[in-house]
């Protein structure tokens, strides 16, 4: 049998290609794995979710105010919005309200598109943003089907932030204080189910403040929790997009 001759050139090229392949493989492996955004039923951890009963919502916006106070959000950034709509025809006219928070999707389109992996799906079900990593490209904002993300342009309600605006506040597990160029300015922000409160065993600010007791929050992994029971028979916004939201709605289904 004729032996195949390995020339020096061939050897060098093969080893170069092999090294390149190894480096490429390692780079991909070290990159943010997309596994953690898959919808795995993780029974060991709590997986938080929210149910909003639209029949109980009176559109008072107490949730919006509580949220703004808790998260010290600047102008035009609302983690929680109550979308008000006039419906029906005269004389049978009524207002309908649709509170919109972050859906904390199990298949979040925002996590998929982030070029630096700054936004992640946490094991407790919450989609988080790392303000220290975010580059502010706003790709996630265009990708979110619910418009739940906002960019912090660095504006304040007052030219010189007043005492409240300048006071420290907590998001995720860090404490922030409003100041020019300081995080989370120039980053994208969104509702995080008041993760800092949840970690302490408290409810999100909007749930506590809700006058009509329209909001329920808790562990969806526990079948006996109030939120799990309420979630039965609920619907989600834009379910056709396959984002698998963890914020559910009760009451008459609205057009998306």
């Amino acid at each position: 049998m004729e032996e195949k001759k390995i020339t020096r050139k061939k050897f060098v090229i093969t080893s170069l290609l092999g090294t390149l392949g190894l480096v490429a493989g390692e780079l991909i492996r070290q990159s943010h794995s997309i596994d953690n955004i898959e919808n795995e039923v993780d029974t060991e951890n709590k997986k938080y979710g929210m149910v909003i009963d639209l029949d109980r919502c009176i559109g008072c916006n107490a949730c919006t105010i509580a949220c703004k106070q808790e998260n010290n959000t600047p102008p035009n950034i609302h983690y929680n919005v109550v979308i008000e709509k006039e419906e029906g025809e005269f004389p049978n006219v009524y207002n309908s309200f649709l509170p919109r928070v972050c859906m904390q999707c199990d298949k979040p389109p925002c996590v998929k598109v982030c070029p630096v992996g700054a936004t992640k799906k946490q094991k407790n079900g919450i989609v988080s943003i790392d303000y220290e990593t975010c580059i502010g490209c706003r790709y996630c904002m265009t990708a979110c089907p619910y418009g739940a993300r906002s960019f912090d342009f660095g504006e304040n309600y007052y030219d010189q932030p007043n005492t409240f605006e300048a006071s420290p506040y907590q998001e995720y597990d860090k404490i922030y204080q409003r100041g020019k160029g300081k995080a989370p300015q120039n980053s994208v922000r969104k509702c995080h189910f008041c993760s800092h409160r949840v970690d302490k065993g408290e409810l999100p600010a909007c749930v506590t403040a809700c006058l009509g007791k329209a909001r329920f929050f808790g562990d969806l992994n526990d079948p006996n929790s109030e939120v799990s029971i309420k979630a039965k028979g609920s619907w989600t916004l834009k379910s056709n997009l396959g984002t698998k939201p963890r914020t559910f709605y009760l009451g008459e289904k609205r057009d998306d």
């Binding site: 950034i77 389109p109 982030c114 502010g136 265009t142 300015q185």
Partner: protein
């Protein structure tokens, strides 16, 4: 062309000072002076990024095709295209650079990778593509001027000996890269399922065909700018044939996109089309995209072809109007889609206004103009200093001198 190095030092010092002030203002003010908001998050700068990247890709593909098929009659034009492709690429990079919130973290995209992000891939490919174009530019210049080839190191000898081979393989690498980079830009938008108008498979194709069109239009434009590149009228006619074919192709894909979305009756799609046809973006659509981009381009083209003398400047004007039209295509396909609220009433709730139509602010225009002017100055510097381009400029060609060489 200006040769005095002192003058260039002066110009670049002024440019550096201006850049310092512009960057200081941008870093200090963030994006507050733009008209971007939480509904329309991408605007003029992203449009310019896509636009310049498109021109770069188009020009590079022209160079690549001329190089691979060894089309000698377009050789000089191809070299100009390669250089222009590099500069437009840099200009595009600056546009995306000033658009991001944290300028200082720009480089982190190369250490914090996300394999599922199209943008992550896009930026990596962008850099590889830029390096490829830069290397090609370096290799094309090897051995042209004696002072560069005096050094007798092993590397320079190897490079000089294998110049043709390296250029060939780099071009082989560059062509799929160019397609991937610009197809990737289209995919960047197309993968967003939240925006129905973008979420179609033809979107990346539109980007690629628009890139081809902007490339060929830019070639004709450059041909008019570099008087020394004399092409026989028959070759200009050939170029114009390619130009018209790509225009038709571009109009076809753009119309397909509009027709399919109009026909679909999906609320969001119809909303975008209404904004374009008779909404806030109607002027930009009818005057910019259709009026200048298609009708004016075609009229000028028809005049050029019907005129027996085939005056080149008419074709040149046609290419300029086409380049303007392509800019409008980019603009009209990006911002109107973002203007459509994702949930009815969301925009009213946040901003108290029914619709959030985006009009770039004066500062956005000033920044854009500054980047373009800076790019132009760097371009002129290169033209007067890069050996191959200097050769093209200073060659005293009789009309159609190198036309004798056949492909």
């Amino acid at each position: 062309m200006i040769q005095s190095n002192k003058l260039w030092w002066g110009v670049f010092s002024l440019l550096a000072i201006a850049t310092f002030f512009f960057m200081y203002f941008r870093i200090n003010q963030g994006l507050t002076f733009t008209n971007l908001n939480n509904i329309v998050g991408w605007g003029l700068w992203v449009t310019f990024y896509v636009y310049f990247l498109g021109i770069s890709v188009g020009l590079f593909l022209f160079y690549g095709v001329c190089n691979i098929f060894n089309i000698a009659k377009f050789r000089n034009l191809a070299l100009i295209a390669l250089y222009s492709s590099f500069i437009t690429l840099i200009v595009g990079l600056f546009f995306i650079f000033i658009d991001i919130g944290h300028l200082g973290r720009f480089w982190t995209v190369f250490i914090n990778r996300n394999v599922s992000s199209v943008l992550s891939w896009e930026l990596h490919l962008y850099v590889i593509y830029m390096v490829t174009v830069a290397l090609l530019l370096v290799f094309e210049n090897l051995g042209i001027e004696k002072k560069y080839s005096n050094t007798e190191s092993i590397i320079s000898t190897w490079c000089n000996e294998n110049k043709e081979k390296v250029i060939k393989y780099l071009t082989y690498l560059g062509i799929p890269l160019a397609i991937a980079v610009h197809g990737g830009t289209g995919a960047l938008f197309a993968v967003i399922k939240a925006r129905v108008f973008w979420n179609s498979a033809i979107f990346p194709v539109i980007f690629l065909i628009s890139a081809l069109l902007s490339g060929i239009a830019a070639i004709i434009f450059l041909l008019g700018c570099f008087h020394n590149v004399n092409l026989k009228t028959q070759y200009i006619k050939k170029l114009s044939n390619i130009f018209i074919i790509v225009i038709v192709l571009d109009v076809f894909v753009v119309m397909t996109q509009l027709f399919v979305h109009y026909y679909s009756d999906i609320n969001e799609s119809i909303a975008v089309i209404h904004l374009l046809f008779y909404g806030e973006y109607a002027k930009s659509f009818w005057i910019g995209q259709i009026g200048i981009g298609i009708i004016l381009t075609l009229i000028l083209f028809a005049i050029y072809r019907m005129n027996t003398k085939g005056r080149f400047w008419i074709l040149w004007l046609s290419s300029i109007s086409c380049l303007i039209g392509i800019w409008f295509i980019r603009m009209n396909f990006i911002t109107p889609t973002l203007s459509v609220p994702l949930i009815e009433g969301l925009s009213e709730n946040i901003y108290g206004i029914e619709s959030t139509n985006y009009v770039p602010s004066l500062m956005e225009w000033i920044y854009s103009l500054f980047i373009i002017i800076s790019g132009f100055i760097v371009y002129l510097f290169g033209v007067s200093h890069i050996p191959i381009l200097k050769n093209i400029i200073h060659q005293k060609t009789k009309k159609g001198d190198f036309d004798e060489e056949t492909a």
